[in-house]
């Protein structure tokens, strides 16, 4: 079998494969730091029952949907009380409810968002809790 211009094609292929796999080789041996959102704020420490508005598994997977529901309920419908699946009531407010407990935005929100390269624009308007530089 003969390939016309085989040399050029093979050199081209080698360069192409090299470029495509470059990120993999480049990151070999580098530590892959998993995001570990921290929950140890003073406000959470004070809670007797350390529970968010819904279960941890639900919050981890669906918090963005919950926040969208909260946003529309509070702003558009004027409904400001959230009753969770256990019947407990919470005030619907990102700044006053969520961030009251999770007063560590950098270690809680940003930790995963940066890792996943998502940039939610919540904080363009909502005021993040004041944190000490760590």
């Amino acid at each position: 079998m003969r390939i016309y211009d085989g040399g050029k094609i093979i050199i081209g292929l080698v360069i192409f494969v090299g470029l495509v796999t470059f990120p993999f080789f480049y990151n070999i041996g580098k530590p892959n730091v998993k995001p570990e959102p921290k929950l140890d704020t003073p406000e959470i420490q004070k809670l007797t029952e350390k529970k968010c508005v819904e279960s941890k598994a639900f919050m981890r997977a669906e918090h963005m949907k919950l926040l969208y529901t909260w946003r529309d309920a509070a702003v558009r419908a004027g409904e400001r009380i959230y009753v969770n699946s256990e019947g407990k009531q919470f005030t619907i407010s990102l700044q006053n409810t969520c961030m009251h407990c999770h007063s560590n935005k950098k270690k809680f929100c940003d930790e995963c968002h940066t890792y996943m390269a998502v940039k939610p624009y919540c904080w363009n308007c909502h005021i993040a809790p004041k944190e000490k530089e760590t």
């Binding site: 669906e62 946003r71 509070a74 004027g78 019947g87 005030t91 700044q95 006053n96 308007c125 005021i127």
Partner: protein, 274 residues
């Protein structure tokens, strides 16, 4: 393979049933586990059919009165003080008679009224032109008559500013954060590129509180004795504060000829016959 019409219909029917059943199964599996949760109104919330405000201009006697009422609003809502009229953001402010009631002025009017600054804010019109023009429904009229702004949806097209005959809306030409002297951490700021205005303190009404400006005017009245300069209540309720004051005083509204039906009423001059 050849199929006749009868076989084709059978296959089509069976696959439709399968398809519908399939989505039901998928929905069941993908259930987000939030069946039992729901949202509701706070039981402390003030309710009305149409919120309205009456402003008794006779009670605003010193510059300090205006300042306190305006500050009460601007400080809790993180309204920036940019300090140049082009970029100015305002929810409640004061303006002269000829700008507030154009077409109703005359040369021989009482000097005191001609010179008087009037407290002006969003009129929360019953027929709001800003709501009609908003392409994203970022501004909308609530069931209780409040013309609300949803900053999450505002795309900054400024149609509403062109539509509003009262100049009640301000555009954020720049990031307002550096111009807020002291942030209220319980209320969001706005961002560059959105329009904002008075919301009749929807966030306070939801907790059973009256608007901040009305509260400030009541505080002034308490110190001084007598009636406050601002009243808030339900226009549809005969016994509300607003209806009581309107039924006993002569009142005017801004640009009534435009048919927007403002919900802010002004009491100007005259004896207190209430």
């Amino acid at each position: 393979m050849k199929i006749n019409r009868r076989q084709f219909l059978k296959i089509a029917g069976a696959s439709t049933v399968l398809g519908l059943g399939g989505t039901a199964v998928v929905n069941m599996i993908a259930n987000d586990g939030l069946e039992a949760s729901h949202v509701m109104t706070d039981e402390r919330a003030l309710l009305a059919k149409r919120w309205a405000m009456a402003i008794d201009m006779r009670k605003f006697t010193t510059e300090e009165d205006y300042r306190r009422v305006i500050n009460a609003c601007h400080s809790i809502h993180n309204v920036p003080d940019i300090g140049n009229p082009k970029d100015e953001v305002k929810w409640i402010w004061s303006d002269g008679y000829e700008h507030v009631f154009p077409g109703q002025e005359n040369e021989y009017m009482e000097e005191s009224i001609k010179e008087l600054p009037f407290i002006v804010l969003c009129n929360h019109c019953d027929n709001p032109p800003c709501v009609r023009v908003c392409p994203t429904k970022a501004t909308f009229k609530r069931k209780d008559g409040i013309v609300m702004m949803d900053q999450h949806r505002c795309i900054g097209c400024r149609f509403c500013m062109a539509a509003c005959p009262f100049g009640a809306r301000s555009f954020n030409w720049k990031d307002p954060r550096p111009f807020i002297k002291k942030e209220n951490l319980e209320y969001p700021t706005r961002t560059k590129g959105v329009v904002e205005k008075c919301t009749f303190c929807f966030e306070r009404i939801a907790k059973g509180l009256i608007p901040a400006c009305v509260e400030a005017s009541q505080a002034i009245a308490k110190e001084r004795g007598g009636e406050p300069g601002m009243f808030f209540g339900d226009l549809q309720d005969q016994n509300s504060e607003v209806r009581k004051i309107l039924s006993s005083h002569f009142s005017i509204r801004r640009k009534p000829e435009l048919g927007t039906e403002p919900s802010v009423f002004y009491i100007i001059g005259g004896e207190n016959n209430g």
